[in-house]
Amino acid sequence: MSSIESKYNLAPSVLKQINDFIVTLRRNDTISSSLFARKTGLTVEFAKRVLGELVAQGIMEYYIIVPCSNPLEDAEHYVVFSSLEDLNSFSVEETCTVCDQCGHKFDAINAKFGYRRHDKDKK
């Protein structure tokens, strides 16, 4: 956390707010950058940078969730990647295996980043 403080010249009260929010996250709680921004009073763009820093420090971890392009509302399915490298090596030409019959491709443009507390116990 100290590197965030020095890198962005954040007031101790802001740092406390960030820390107080992170410790309230449960193991399975996933947050977006906009929820983090709302809870900590940061702008969304700035929240993304702070989250990146928290990932680099091993406090948080991220994953990427990509929907398939099924046009039916709420009928889309998802594939999850644990890193950008994994996402980049995935072919967007692959079709969704859940909606087998419709064969929709994955929609990388609408990928979402989720953040959660780094699970140190995870093997």
């Binding site: 962005y8 410790v23 309230t24 193991r27 709680d29 947050i31 929820l35 702008t43 940078r49 609408n110």
Partner: protein, 404 residues
């Protein structure tokens, strides 16, 4: 009768446009009396006769013909401009230069419309905006009954779009009709996000008129939806607030004791359980003391969708709004732990009730009715103004604005 104002082909083109796109309620802005007429065909004929007789000025009629589609049942795609690149001065200059490229709306039908054309531009200085009206060739799938069989065949149609360039609110609003069975507009097809590519087509088209501009992702919109949902569902009852504030230390003490007895000392466990108990307790207080309807916000929330990246929650009220009861508690918990990606709101204007959805999307936010009810554009504009007020509030208080 034709005494020279409108030619036969103009009458045919206008009649075709009005038959396809215009509802009787649209005629109210032209003439209250006409709108009470029986049957759209007769009303159209009466309108055209009034134009021919000079009782309705031709230029006034053309302006109405262009702008009347702003009202009705449209989708409003709101794009936020990155900089204040559009000004009143710029639009005023444009107004004097644009006349040469505006096509006469009465001259076009699906027979001779080859591509998208600009048919009207109006600068509304009082509202700090300019409105551009376009006509485009479109293809729709029509179902035709042949004997006992129903066959779908593509059919050409003229499509309307209004683009509002709002230099006061610093956004561009694309107002288009979600025509059923639409295939494409000027060869641009819908995608999984519905009419989004068509809205983007008109947004891109605007560069021909107002020059280069860039769009800013409205990152604030999920927070604005949260504020609107909070205001729209708040109990506004000081008795509830007072009792709730009194209860908080007790709740926290009880939760801390409970968790400690089970050796659950993680701060996240305390936050999780105490949040749930507080919500349940507040819900019970609302049941007892009630919601103060008189002090309520002019918008009520009937549905919301929360996105927590790997999960989503839909909550809705079938009758009434989400300000009391179990669904309200779930809605509040959802708002606290997820981004609102869709909010269903209801409002009353001039003794009419309107319901619509506000959705946050990648580059824009979308406001659309959840019924086919005729909605004046002013009702939608009020919602945009409200959201922009929240935007100002969020951006003025957020940390990091200077580094973005």
């Amino acid at each position: 009768m034709n005494n020279g104002y409108l030619t036969k082909s103009q009458r045919e083109s206008i009649t075709s446009l009005l038959q396809i796109h215009t509802q009787l309620k649209h005629f109210k802005t032209l003439s209250e009396e006409l709108a009470k007429g029986f049957g759209k065909g007769k009303v159209i004929e009466s309108v055209l006769n009034l134009v021919d007789e000079g009782k309705i000025e031709l230029e006034e009629f053309k302006a109405w013909l262009s702008l009347h589609q702003l009202n009705g049942n449209n989708h409003f795609y709101v794009y936020e401009l990155r900089t204040h690149s559009v000004t009143e001065g710029m639009l005023r200059n444009l107004e004097s230069q644009i006349k040469n490229i505006i096509s006469d709306i009465t001259e076009y039908s699906i027979e001779n419309l080859q591509g998208t054309i600009l048919v009207n531009f109006v600068l509304e200085e009082d509202r700090k905006r300019g409105v551009f009206t376009f006509l485009s060739p479109a293809a729709v799938m029509k179902k035709i009954k042949i004997g006992d069989m129903v066959q779908a065949i593509p059919e050409k149609q003229v499509y309307y779009a209004n683009v509002i360039v709002d230099y006061g609110l610093n956004n561009i609003v694309i107002s288009i009709n979600p025509t059923a069975n639409m295939i494409s507009v000027d060869n641009v097809s819908k995608n999984k996000n519905g009419f989004e590519p068509i809205a983007e087509y008109y947004l891109t088209k605007m560069r021909d008129f107002i020059g280069e501009f860039s769009i800013k992702t409205p990152g604030w919109i999920t927070q604005a939806l949260d504020l609107l949902a909070e205001e729209g569902t708040h109990h506004n009852n000081p008795e509830v607030t007072a009792e709730y504030m009194k209860a908080i230390p007790y709740i926290e003490e009880v939760v801390a004791d409970l968790l400690s007895n089970f050796e659950l000392d993680d701060p996240s466990a305390f936050a999780y359980v105490s949040e749930e108990v507080k919500l349940a307790f507040e819900s019970i207080l609302i049941d007892k003391y009630g919601v103060n309807e008189e002090a309520s916000c002019s918008y009520r929330v009937f549905e919301l969708k929360g996105d927590q990246v790997n999960s989503f929650v839909y909550v809705g009220a079938k009758n009434g709004s989400l300000n009391e009861g179990r669904a309200a508690k779930v809605a509040k918990a959802t708002r606290a732990n997820a981004d609102l990606t869709q909010l269903g709101i209801e409002c009353n204007r001039n003794n009419e009730t309107y319901r619509f959805y506000i959705s946050s999307c990648a580059d824009y936010y979308l406001i659309k009715s959840n019924t086919t009810k005729f909605t004046n554009e002013e009702v939608i504009r009020d919602v945009i103004v409200k959201l922009v007020e929240y935007r100002e509030q969020i951006q003025s208080s957020a940390i990091g604005a200077q580094t973005d």
